[in-house]
Symmetry: D2
Subunit: 383 residues, 4 copies
Amino acid sequence: MNTLLHQYQAVRKHSEHLCRNLKTEDYVVQPVVDVSPPKWHLGHTTWFFETFILQTVKGYREFDPMYNFVFNSYYESVGVRVVRTDRGNLSRPSVEDIYNYRKYVDNAMHSLLQAQLSADLTGLIVLGLNHEQQHQELLATDIKYILGNNPLQPAFEVEKTSQVHDPEKSWVTMESGLYEIGYAGDGFCFDNELGRHTVYLPAYRIATMPVTNREYLVFMQEGGYKQHQFWHAEGWDWVKNNKVSAPMYWHAIDGEWWCYQPSGLQLLQPHDPVCHISFYEAAAYAAWKGMRLPTEFEWEAAAPKFPWGKRWEWTNSAYLPYPGFVRAAGAVGEYNGKFMVNQMVLRGASEVTPEGHSRITYRNFFHAPLRWQYTGIRLAEHY
Amino acid sequence: MNTLLHQYQAVRKHSEHLCRNLKTEDYVVQPVVDVSPPKWHLGHTTWFFETFILQTVKGYREFDPMYNFVFNSYYESVGVRVVRTDRGNLSRPSVEDIYNYRKYVDNAMHSLLQAQLSADLTGLIVLGLNHEQQHQELLATDIKYILGNNPLQPAFEVEKTSQVHDPEKSWVTMESGLYEIGYAGDGFCFDNELGRHTVYLPAYRIATMPVTNREYLVFMQEGGYKQHQFWHAEGWDWVKNNKVSAPMYWHAIDGEWWCYQPSGLQLLQPHDPVCHISFYEAAAYAAWKGMRLPTEFEWEAAAPKFPWGKRWEWTNSAYLPYPGFVRAAGAVGEYNGKFMVNQMVLRGASEVTPEGHSRITYRNFFHAPLRWQYTGIRLAEHY
Amino acid sequence: MNTLLHQYQAVRKHSEHLCRNLKTEDYVVQPVVDVSPPKWHLGHTTWFFETFILQTVKGYREFDPMYNFVFNSYYESVGVRVVRTDRGNLSRPSVEDIYNYRKYVDNAMHSLLQAQLSADLTGLIVLGLNHEQQHQELLATDIKYILGNNPLQPAFEVEKTSQVHDPEKSWVTMESGLYEIGYAGDGFCFDNELGRHTVYLPAYRIATMPVTNREYLVFMQEGGYKQHQFWHAEGWDWVKNNKVSAPMYWHAIDGEWWCYQPSGLQLLQPHDPVCHISFYEAAAYAAWKGMRLPTEFEWEAAAPKFPWGKRWEWTNSAYLPYPGFVRAAGAVGEYNGKFMVNQMVLRGASEVTPEGHSRITYRNFFHAPLRWQYTGIRLAEHY
Amino acid sequence: MNTLLHQYQAVRKHSEHLCRNLKTEDYVVQPVVDVSPPKWHLGHTTWFFETFILQTVKGYREFDPMYNFVFNSYYESVGVRVVRTDRGNLSRPSVEDIYNYRKYVDNAMHSLLQAQLSADLTGLIVLGLNHEQQHQELLATDIKYILGNNPLQPAFEVEKTSQVHDPEKSWVTMESGLYEIGYAGDGFCFDNELGRHTVYLPAYRIATMPVTNREYLVFMQEGGYKQHQFWHAEGWDWVKNNKVSAPMYWHAIDGEWWCYQPSGLQLLQPHDPVCHISFYEAAAYAAWKGMRLPTEFEWEAAAPKFPWGKRWEWTNSAYLPYPGFVRAAGAVGEYNGKFMVNQMVLRGASEVTPEGHSRITYRNFFHAPLRWQYTGIRLAEHY
C-alpha cells in the first residue's frame, strides 16, 4: 500500500477512535463558542477533503449540497456558512449521517489515492491530513470541555498514571547571538512556519521543565490571583469579571483540590505540569516569580536542549507573520495569515496532540483568555 | 383499572408518542432560550412527579440525586437549578437514561395509584398531569422550532389536510352588561382561573373566525410591516431590530410563500388561520383593520358563540391576577402568580394542545414578542 | 392679559425656575438611558411648540433647521431623531443657545396668543403646556438623579421639613358594584383618560395613607429582599442581578440610613412615605403584608376618600386602552397609545408634580423596574 | 527662572490653550468609552502632580479628598476610581472647580520647583510633564471626536493650509544586518523605550512618504472594503459589524467627499496623508497594494532617512516588552507594562503631538480598531 493512502487511513481512523466512548448526545452540544460539537469536527474535516480535493476531480458527486453550508468553518471564499455560535443548535445531519459522509468521502479518497497524483494535489491532501490532526487535538479538548462542564462529570478515557516526583529542575543558558528561526526541512509544515530567517537574541536562561501544579499552588496560596501588580490590565479585568481563582477544571472540595480528567474527577496530581491556564495566568505567574515567559524565538532556539510536548507553552510573542510571509491565493490561503493579530503564540505540543503532528518550528496560537487547551508555563529570564 | 391510573398512563404515553419520530440528536439541542430540549421536557415532567409526589411517599428512593439540579425549571423553593440557557449544553443524562428515569418513576406511580390516596395527593397528581400536558404542547412547538430552524428542514409528522375555503365570516354581537368570568365547575383548573367574578363589559362585536393567511398577506402587501402608526413603540423597535417582515416559518422562494410545517416545507395554505405571530403583529394587524384585539373577558364571554381551538388567540389583556387571587403556599404556589407582570393573555387552544387540556376559562400567557407557539388573531371592535 | 397667554408664561417660566440652581455642566449629562439632560428637556418642550404650533403659522421662520433632529423625542412621524442614548453626548447646542431658542419661540408664541385662535390650535397649545408640565416633573427627577449619582452629592434645593409622626392609618371600605372610570369634565385631559366607562368592582379596602419609610424598613429588616416568595419572577431576577437591597438613593453609613434629597444627603425621615421604589418592590412589600396593590380602577373609585399627591402610587394594573380608545391621527396621536404594552399604571401625583397638573383620572405609566420617579405604595385588599 | 519651572509652566499652559475655544458644555461629555471629557483630562493631569509629587511633600494639603476618586485613571495602587465609562456622567466638579484645582496645584508646584529637588523627585516631575503632554494629544483628538460627532459639526480651530501636491514618492532601501533599537540618550524617555538592544533585520524597503487621501480613495473605489481577502479575520468582522466604508470623519455629500476638521466640515484634501484609520484598514490597504506595514524595528532603523511626524503610523508589531524590560515598582510602574498585550505599536508622531514630545524611539500603542487618533499608513516590503 502506498504511504499517503496509509497515512490517510491512519489519520481518518484516529479521529473516530477519539470519539469511541461518546454517547450520541455528546456529539451534538456546543457549551461555549470556542468549543465545537464533536460531530461538527468529524464533518468539517471531511468537508475539507471533499471541497478542496474531491470537488476538483472529474466525476465526483457531492454527498449532499447542503453540507457546504453546514460544515464550512471560516472560509469566506467558499460561501455562506452556519455562524459559529449556531453549530450547537443543529441536531441534523445526525451522527449516523456524518459517519456515512465520512465513509463516502473516504471511499472516493481511497480511489483517488491509488492513482498518480500531481504534486499540487498531494500537497493539498497532506494539508488536509494535518488539518484533521489539528481538529483531533480540538476533539480531545472539546470533548473534555463538554463532559467536564456537565454536572455529572462523566469519564471518557481510562486513567493515566501521573508523575510521582517533581521533574528535576535546571536551566538552559543561551548565549546572545544570531539564530535561525522557521522551518527548514522538506517535509510538511504550515505556511506560518516558512520564511526561515535570522533573529538576534540577547543572552537568556530558560527552564528545562514546565511549572508543576505544586509550584502553581504556591502562587495561589500566596495570593497571586489577588494582587493586580502581577497582571496585565486586561488580565486583571478578566480575573475580576470571571471571578477566576484557579486553573480551569480545578474544584476545591472539602479542603482538597480535585481536577476533572478524561477519567473523571481525580485528586490533583502535584507533580504534573500545571494545565488549562490562560496567557494572563502564565504571565502573572512568571511576573510573581520575578521572571518572564520566553519569546517564541527563544523557545525555538533552545528547544533542542530540553524535553517538551506535554503542554502547549504560552510564549510572550504575539502571532505575527515572519519576514516575507505571503498568504497563499484562494481559500487555502485563509488558513493562517488572517489570524495574525491579537493572538499569542504557543510552542511545543500537548499530551493530546496527535502523534507525528509536532515540530520544533510549529506555531500554535490562541487568544489570551482561552484555557480549554492543554496549556502550561515555561519560565525564562534575561541573563 | 381506576380512572386516575388510566389517565396517568395515557398522558405519560402521549409525551413519548410526540417524540416518536425524533433522532437522538434532536432531543438535545436548545436553539433559543425559550425552547427547551425535548429530553429536558421528558425529564422535567417526570421530576415533577418524583419531587412533589413520590418524595412524600415513605420508602421511595430517588432515581438520581443529581436530577433535581438538572430538571428543576423555575421552582426557587426546590434548590439550585441549571440556568435556563444552559439546558442545551447538557449531553448527559442521555436520552436512554431519561427514558429509564421515566420508567422508574412510572412504576412507582403505578404502585401509588393503586393505593387509597388523600384528596391532597390526588390533587397534586392531577396537577402533575396537567403540567405534563402543558409541556406536551411545548414539546410540539419546540420540536417544530428545532427542526424548522435546521437548514435541512426535516419533516417529523405526516401532512395534515388544510382548509380549502376561507371559513365563513361573521360577527357575534355582545350586549353591554355584567358577565361572570373564571372557572366555576368542580373539575381541574389552574389557580389563575379561580376567583370567578363579575365584570362589566361595554357592547362589542367579535369575529366568529380567526384571520387567515390570505387576509394577513394583504396586510403584508399593503406595507403593514413598514408603517409605524399601526405598531406599539416597542413592537416597532422589534420589527426593525429583527428585520421582521412575515410570520415565523414563512419563506419567500422564487416569488411564492412557503411555510415550514411538521411535514416539512409546504406551500402556504391561504385558507388556514395565520399562525406563529407575535402580540405586536396581532395588534398591528388589528390596528390596520381599524379594529382591535378582544380583552380576555370579552373573549370568555363570547366564546360559547364561536368555534375556537386552532390557534392561541392574543388578547389585549395583560396577565394579571383575578380579584382575590392568592398564591398557594410552597413550591406549587410558584406555578402561576409570579409570572403576573409584563406578559399578555392568550385564550383558546391550538392544534397541538393535547386533547382534554382546553377550557373556555383557560388563561395562557406569553411575552409579547414570542412567536413559536401556534398563535393567531381574532378581531373585535367597540360596537 | 388673556388666560392662555398667562398660563403659557407661567408654565414656561416654571421650567426655567426648576433649573435655577444648576451649573452649566449639570444641564449636559445623561447618566442612564431613562434620564435626559436638563438642556434637552428645555429644548424638547420648546421644539414641541415650534413643530406642532408655530410651523403651521404662516411666516414663521424656524430657529434652526437642525433642531428637529436634535430635540425630537419619539415622534416617528416627524423625521429622524437622535437616538435616545446619545442625548448625553451632545455638548451643542449650548445651554445659552437653548435659552435663546426658548426666547425666540416664546416671542413667537406671545404674538400668536394675542390673536384669535381656532379651537384646534388652542387645543394643541394646551396640550403643549401639559406636555411641558410632564417634562417639568422629569426635570425634577432627572436633576435629582444626575446630582444624586455624583460622588460629591451636591444639593440643589433648600431642605423641606418632613413629617414628624406617621400619618394616622385607616382604611376606606368600598362596596362591590358599578363605578364610572375616566375623565368626565370639559377641561384638559390626555386621550388615555377618555372614554369614561363603567367597571364592576368587587368589595375592597384601601389604605388612607401610603406606606412610610419606617414601615418599609421593617420589611427590609425581616429579610424582604431575600425571600423569593414575595416577588414576581422577573422582580426576583432584578433584585439579584442588580443586588438591590434598599430603595434608590438610600445609603447605609456607619449603621444609619441616609437618603439623598434635593438638599443633599440627609438622615432618613421615618415618617415620610417611602419613595423611589420599583413596581417589583411595591408588589413584594404588599405580598409580604399579605395584601396587594389596588387596581387603577379601585384607586380612582376610592380616591375622593383619601389624601393623595405625595407619591405616584404603583397600581396592579397594566397600561392598556380604555374601551373605545382610538389613537388620534398624526404625530400627536403618538402621545400615549403606542406605549400601551408592558408598562404599569401609577395613579396620584408626587411632590414634584407641577401644580395644576394632577387629576383623579390621570394615568401615569412606567416600566416595572424604574425607580427614579417619586413612586410609593398604597395597600389594598379584597374585603 | 530655572528650566524645569519654565518647562512646567509652558506645558501646563498649553493644556489650557488647547481648550481655549471650548464652551463649558464641551468639557463635560464622553461620547464613547475611549474618549474622555476635556475637563477630566485637565483634572487628571493635575491629580498626577498632586498624588505622586505634592502628597510626598511635608505640609501639602490636598485640594479635595474626593478628587482621587474622580480623577484616578487606571492606577490600581492608588485606590478605587470612577469606572471609565462613567466619566461622562459627572457634571461636578465643575469646569471652574477644575481650573481652580489647577491653580492650587500649580501654586504648590511653583513653590516646590524653586527649592532644591532630589533626582527622584525631578524624575517624577519630568514624567508628570510627559504624561500631561500625552494627554494634550488626547485632548486634541477627544475634542475633535466630541465636536466632530455633534450633528452641528462646530469648528474649534482656524483652518490650516493643506498640501497642494502629492509628496514626492520614493523608497528607502535598508540592508539586512544588525540594528540597535531603543532609547540611548540621557534625556527623558518612557520605560518601554529602554533596554536598547540589537535586532537582526532582513533587507527591506520602506516608503519615504505616508499614503495620501488620493491614494486611499483608489483602494475604496476598487472595492477594498468589500473584499475579505485583504483583511484580517477580525478586521473583516469589524468592517461588517460597523458597516465601515471610509475613514472616520469622512462624509459623502452630493457625490463629493467631505471631511470634518478642527475648522469644521471641509472638502477632502487629496494630497494630505490619509488619517483616522484603524490598524485593520492600514493592513488591508497594504495587502491590497501587495505590500505590508513595517515592523516597529524596521521603522526605527530607517526613520532617520525619511520625514515623519504628521501621522501616527501603524506598524505590524504588537506592543510587547523589549528584552530585559522590568516594570518599575509602585503606581508609576503601572504606566506601560501592564498594557503589553493585544495592542499594536504606532511609530512617529502626529500633527497634534505637542512640540518636544516626539522621539525616534517613542512607542505609541492602541487597539487595532481605534481610529480617533491621527493615524496613517507607511508602506514597506521585503526586498
